[in-house]
């Protein structure tokens, strides 16, 4: 069915990338190379990815897997504005893994299954030392401090404690049960990939700026766009809070799997 629409000229890239994903999932894990590409020319600063990610992963206050940073430059009326979503970079040389006291157990670069190539966290192994949170140059990790958005309301509604499926199993976020207390970050929506769905930030991208797929597949949209438009990577983010932080591009030391078209 998707072929019917996705195959035609002018198909929504959500369908094109979904076809790419379903094709990639049929290939051996070792042959895949998941990558995300964000075309900032198309990012309209709508923050749908941020909200969609929080809703999908039931992430708590203070832990935002994918904030959108806003930049202004120039002098009126010659002004420029840019919107920069920032997920986990799923680096091939991840500092977070190197610093982890339980490297290869609590956080590690996955080598098998659908997650192969991703940086993952095993919540049960995480000793909550915060080292990874501090070392990430992209400020892409946060610690789940067991708080609720509705804490000051008359009660906490069920959607804040409902099960979610990170890493492909159910978690029910209650006080004193993991993942509260652990480090948390973007998983490329591994649980959705397993179900044949694109990451939540990709499907809800209003400007269709966010691309995802197996970049080693030259037919995939993410590979085609990366090739045609000259992708860049982020070097660092100065503060995890988009109200204060700046995103600095170029000269990345960690081999990120997230690319940008500026």
């Amino acid at each position: 069915m998707t072929g019917e629409t996705a195959g035609v000229e002018g198909a929504d890239i959500i369908l094109t990338m979904r076809d790419d994903l379903l094709r990639a999932l049929k290939r051996p894990a070792g042959d895949r190379r998941w990558a995300m590409l964000i075309d900032l020319r198309k990012c309209v600063g709508c923050h749908a990815c941020t909200a969609g990610c929080v809703a999908e992963n039931v992430s708590p206050p203070g832990v935002v897997y994918r904030p959108v940073f806003e930049e202004e430059s120039g002098t009126f009326p010659k002004v420029a504005r840019r919107f920069i979503p920032r997920p986990c970079m799923h680096c091939d040389r991840p500092p977070c893994v190197g610093i982890c006291p339980k490297a290869d157990k609590a956080t590690y670069k996955s080598r098998e299954g659908v997650s192969a190539g991703m940086v993952v966290i095993d919540y049960a192994e995480c000793i909550q030392c915060d080292k990874c949170v501090r070392i990430c140059p992209y400020r892409a990790r946060g610690r789940d401090e067991a708080r609720y958005y509705s804490a000051r309301a008359p009660f906490v509604p069920a959607y804040e404690t409902r099960p979610q499926w990170e890493y492909g199993r159910t978690w029910t976020r209650q006080p004193q049960s993991i993942p509260t207390g652990t480090a948390r970050k973007c998983t490329f929506c591994l649980h959705r990939l397993k179900a044949g769905l694109l990451p939540a930030c990709v499907t809800t991208c209003n400007g269709r700026a966010t691309h995802f797929g197996d970049i080693s597949d030259p037919e995939s949209l993410v590979a085609r766009v990366a090739k045609s438009a000259g992708a860049k990577t982020i070097r660092k983010v100065t503060d995890p809070d988009p109200a204060r932080g700046k995103v600095i591009f170029g000269g990345s030391m960690t081999e990120p799997r997230v690319y940008y078209i500026l």
Partner: protein
């Protein structure tokens, strides 16, 4: 795995408590009781989880549940007014995640065809905005009310008691001493609705309505009134004022106003208020949105019938930006609002990157859209018309208008020219001795006989006139047999009468000032204007001027929009692919061929409402018996309706008459209107508003002042037919349907169990008052209207059969329909009953509900180079009807053509002359932010986390002058609000204290803010229910709302500045000062 405790079928797990606020038993069990033992168990189970997942050894319980079709229901979002199709993902009856629907062209472009089965669509999520993503926070807001609240203290004091639904309805119907417990109201007798439901005889109502209409047309009002009194002597006691029968019956003293209401609920309410109760006071909120855009386009769509222009449609056009090659956006903020980011961003970003579409953005603020624009022009606020006039002048001077299109004088000529629409650009207008254009010349006035064989229906005496090769010819604009084309720029005399063609009037007006003069007014250099005009005229019919609130919400909005739309007429782009397009929606009310339920006609006892409304719309001041010279006390609105800012202030002034009861629904005029604080004092006054009841999901900014609040269903719990928007080329009908169990309490009406809701309230009032059109056999023998679904299932059946019927759902789809609704209680889901209601169309109903509505296939949205869903009629470049009206304030005639009008107050004074601007140097404007929808999304914590508060944007030059830095706090003050505060009544105030953000993204001299923060209700402040304090959450009160700084009109005294023609509330005309500290 430990499972969350969840009471199925109780609103996603809400339990009740006495105060009527829903609550989940959450921490009591899991955290406090289970403690350490469960921790160990959790940890053990979590061991090696990633690896186990990879190995595929997860139990079914652990697998992702949200992509399974049986856990997904399709409906329509209402976090703003776009109505994107959404898929709501459920887990054990709880809505846990919302995504865009692949069936909806608002969220997937192109959308998947309706033929795709829901089982396949389950695997495709489409795009929605952050508000859509956060919708469950509106629905499961801990501050929602579940029981009827009755005021226990003074209006707005925040003290309530819960009372049984039936008692509340009885009290509203019967009236009496209802608030004897409130100091000062011990003896106050509240009028009940049974007293206001005065005229109950439909026959008498129809006869009186006809005679009241005759009074309007009568030159001698005294004689006409006397005749009325004589003929209706038996019923005069039912009138508001027997000396002014044109005010209508006392029924009109029930006033109903609403904020966000869509099809379905609108029709249901119309059946109650208009056709049943018989009040003319049913007023929407159009003018707080983009009123003058609507009413300009209404004026441009008036059709020539029976010798006059009438029947205009309240609607507007937008650009088909997906196919346009050049778009001039003015005052349009499509990446933050504008129906809406998921729809319009997806249609534009790709084209921009590929260079297929180029855009210019005209805005005093460097918006997100400007950030993507090829060209940006920072216009002065309120001077859009000067910019447009310069463009018109350039186009005329350079002969770059579409002459072939504009020459067409009737339908036949348009057809011959290959045009879907035509204009009155070549028709001749009589010019008065002072040069003022008046009516179109009638052929009979110059003794001209019909030329061809007319087919448009006009009587020979009513034919209009065009000039062809210097010779007058008679024209019927509707003639589809004999093409008539005319000379375009005519200015001549016929039989001693001075006449000009419509286009000539427009051209002369644009030439009234030089390009340099226009440029000075709008603040954009001549070269930039000329370059913009050149671009606009370089892409044929694939260039558009797309305008929205930024142009319309000024005191001159009507004429500024007229100027913009006139440019589109010069381009001849209406109904063309890539041009200006109109909305198209599948019909839900029935009456079409093959549709089973003609709902408007299925109402044998309907009455005829008549009289002048409290906002005095749809009538000229001069035609009323209240005419007493100029200025009128308040405005009259012959061209506009739903003038939101007029409703409560008019009640406050008792002009034209006092209201007795007010009902509001899903609106927050106090918060959303400029100078909205002025409504609060009126609402608090029980003499001016003796009874105020409302329907709301929480105690909101305006419902906080009510006597009774009836809990309503949120958008995931109820029905509506959302309709479409003018930027959507495909024909659609998004259907909003219950997807979760209702959260309000269950009530009984007509012997039926249903959730307390807007519909339940109206049904109960109808039951008590005996209003026809509801109850047993209300639709006809054997067809009852005793439940909401009696109405809405019939509507769905109508949508399914509008035009080519949709297919029947197969057995597998029926099974999925039932399975995916397994969590819904009988009070909102009763398939056996629904099947009986729908009759033979039942499986088509299932087909549509399984997809959340009906959407035309993307490939069918165009016919060649034309839009498939066309307007297809006359578009007025000259508005004769408008020219036949006068300002009720000044008595001057309103121009019927594109013209420049400066910003001014009701009496026509500039702000300087009215003494409003001296000492207040900064122009205050406002804009939407994608994370907030005016009054009603502050409850969404995920959105609040993205923008915890708003700020006032100040240019570096202004900041330096005022010695302000980013982060400083300032009070926003104006001439009509020098203290910079909201008076919330009962001694409560809220200051407009704003955090400054210094930015290069705003034109110097202008400051702006986003609407959405600065709340005082809806969980932002403490309230007391049944003696228990419900603590507010201070996060909901952050930021500010500067609406109260916006000017109060000096003449009106209790209303913002208004566009006296198009009705818009002025949002962008006030000047303010920022006071540090």
């Amino acid at each position: 795995m430990e499972k969350t405790r969840r009471a199925r079928g109780a609103g996603g797990g809400g339990t009740r408590r006495g105060d009527g606020i829903s609550r989940r038993s959450f921490l009591k069990g899991s955290a406090a009781v289970l403690g350490g033992a469960m921790l160990a168990s959790h940890a053990a189970r979590a061991l090696d989880l990633v690896r186990r997942a990879e190995a595929g050894t997860l139990s079914p319980d652990e697998a992702y549940a949200l992509s399974r079709a049986e856990n997904i229901l399709y409906t329509s979002c209402l976090q703003c007014n776009t109505g994107c199709g959404i898929k709501v993902k459920l887990y054990e009856g709880l809505a846990v995640k919302i995504d865009g629907s692949p069936y909806s062209p608002f969220t997937l472009v192109p959308s998947v065809p309706m033929s795709v089965p829901p089982g396949e669509a389950a695997g495709i999520d489409a795009a929605i905005c952050p508000k859509g993503q956060s919708g469950i926070q509106t629905v499961y807001d801990p501050y929602r009310i579940t029981k009827v609240l009755k005021r226990a203290g003074k209006r707005g004091e925040g003290k309530w008691t819960t009372i049984p639904f039936d008692r509340a309805v009885d009290e509203i119907v019967a009236g009496g001493v209802l608030f004897g417990h409130v100091p000062g109201e011990e003896g106050r007798v509240v009028p009940g609705l049974k007293e206001l439901y005065a005229l109950r005889d439909p026959g008498a109502a129809a006869a009186m309505a006809a005679d009241a209409k005759a009074i309007r047309g009568a030159a001698d009002k005294g004689t006409a009134v006397a005749a009325f009194r004589e003929r209706h002597a038996a019923h005069l006691h039912l009138l508001i004022d027997p000396d002014h029968p044109d005010l209508g019956p006392r029924n009109n003293q029930l006033v109903y106003m609403w904020g966000r209401k869509k099809g379905g609920r609108a029709d249901f309410a119309s059946r109650f208020f208009a056709d049943g109760f018989g009040t003319v006071n049913t007023h929407g909120h159009t003018t707080v949105c983009q009123g003058s855009l609507y009413f300009t386009c209404k004026a441009m769509s008036e059709q020539y019938r029976g010798g006059a222009f009438d029947g205009g449609k309240k609607f507007y056009w937008q650009g088909d930006i997906e196919n346009a090659e050049y778009v001039l956006f003015a005052g349009a903020n499509l990446f933050d609002a504008n129906y809406g980011p998921p729809n319009r961003a997806a249609r534009l970003t790709r084209n921009l990157v590929e260079g297929k579409t180029r855009i210019t953005v005209v805005d005093p603020r460097f918006s997100k859209l400007a950030a993507k624009a090829n060209w940006y022009l920072p216009v002065k606020p309120g001077e859009d018309a000067a910019f447009f006039q310069a463009i018109i002048r350039w186009i005329v001077d350079n002969g770059k208008y579409d002459a072939r299109y504009l020459a067409c004088a009737n339908r036949a000529a348009a057809r011959a020219a290959g045009e879907p629409t035509w204009t009155n650009a070549v028709l001749l207008v009589a010019i008065g001795p002072d040069g003022t254009p008046g009516r179109f010349l009638r052929a009979s006035e110059i003794g001209l006989a019909p030329d061809g064989k007319g087919s448009g229906g006009a009587r020979p005496g009513d034919l209009l006139v065009a000039m062809r090769d210097g010779r007058p010819v008679a024209v019927d604009p509707n003639d589809d047999v004999t093409p008539v084309t005319g000379d375009i720029l005519v200015d001549t005399q016929i039989s001693g009468l001075r006449v000009k063609s419509g286009l000539r009037i427009v051209a002369d007006e644009a030439r009234a000032r030089t390009m340099e003069e226009w440029a000075r007014l709008c603040g954009i250099p001549v070269d930039d204007i000329a370059e913009t005009a050149r671009k606009l005229t370089s892409y044929g019919k694939r260039a558009v001027v797309d305008v929205h609130r930024g142009v319309s919400q000024h005191t001159n909005g009507f004429y500024s929009v007229t100027c913009a739309m006139t440019i589109n007429l010069l381009l001849g782009n209406f109904d063309w692919k890539g041009g200006m397009i109109a909305a198209a929606a599948y019909n839900a009310v029935g009456g079409g061929k093959g549709q089973p339920f003609d709902l408007a006609r299925m109402n044998p006892g309907r009455t005829t409402r008549f009289g002048i409304s409290v906002i005095r719309h749809d009538i000229r001041y001069e035609d009323s018996t209240l005419f007493a010279g100029y200025p009128a006390r308040r405005n009259w609105w012959p061209l506009s309706s739903d003038v939101y800012e007029e409703v409560i202030p008019s009640i406050g002034d008792a002009y034209p008459y006092a209201a007795k009861a007010l009902f509001t629904y899903m609106g927050a005029p106090a918060y959303s209107l400029p100078a909205g604080h002025k409504t609060i004092g009126i609402l608090c006054d029980t003499a001016k508003v003796p009874l105020y009841f409302c329907s709301d999901i929480l105690v909101g900014e305006t419902s906080a002042y009510a006597d009774y609040i009836f809990p309503d269903l949120s958008y995931l719990e109820r029905w509506e037919m959302h309709g479409s928007h003018p930027n959507m080329p495909a024909k659609v009908q998004p259907i909003r349907q219950p997807v979760i169990a209702p959260i309000p309490e269950t009530v009984s009406v007509f012997g039926e169990e249903m959730p307390c809701s807007y519909e339940a309230l109206l049904l109960a009032l109808a039951e008590r008052l005996g209003i026809p059109g509801f109850g047993k056999d209300a639709f006809g023998p054997g067809q009852d209207l005793v439940r909401p679904d009696d109405y809405y299932i019939r509507m769905v059946a109508n949508v399914a059969t509008d035009g080519e019927p949709v297919p029947d759902a197969g057995d597998d789809e029926v099974a999925l329909f039932l399975e995916s609704r397994r969590h819904l209680p009988r009070t909102v889901f009763d398939p056996a009953r629904w099947e009986r209601i729908a009759g033979p169309g039942w499986r088509k109903v299932v087909f549509l509900l399984n997809r959340g509505g009906r959407h035309q296939d993307y490939r069918d949205a165009y016919h060649g180079d034309w839009a498939a869903n066309r307007y297809g009629r006359l578009v007025n470049i000259y508005q004769e009807k408008t020219a036949g009206t006068r300002s009720a304030f000044t008595g001057k005639p309103n121009p019927g053509y594109a013209t420049y009008v400066p910003v001014c107050d009701a009496l026509g004074k500039t702000p300087e002359a009215a003494g409003l601007s001296a000492g207040y140097p900064l122009r205050l404007i406002t804009q939407k932010d994608v994370t907030q929808t005016k009054s009603r999304t502050i409850t969404n914590y995920w959105l609040l986390a993205i923008r915890p508060e708003n700020d006032v944007l100040v240019s570096p030059a202004d900041a330096e002058r005022l010695r302000l830095r980013s982060g400083d706090m300032v009070r926003i003050v104006s001439a009509t609000n020098p203290s910079g505060a909201w008076d919330l009544g009962n001694g409560r105030r809220k200051e407009m204290r704003a955090r400054v953000r210094v930015t290069e993204t705003i034109r110097p001299g202008v400051v702006t803010f986003t609407i959405g923060h600065g709340h005082w209700a809806g969980g932002a402040a403490d309230i007391e229910i049944d003696g228990t304090v419900i603590k507010g959450d201070p996060r909901r009160a952050t930021g500010f709302n500067a609406n109260a700084a916006m000017w109060t009109d000096p003449h009106l005294g209790n209303t913002c500045l208004v566009d006296p023609v198009g009705g818009s509330a002025s949002f962008y005309d006030t000047t303010v000062n920022l006071v540090k500290g």
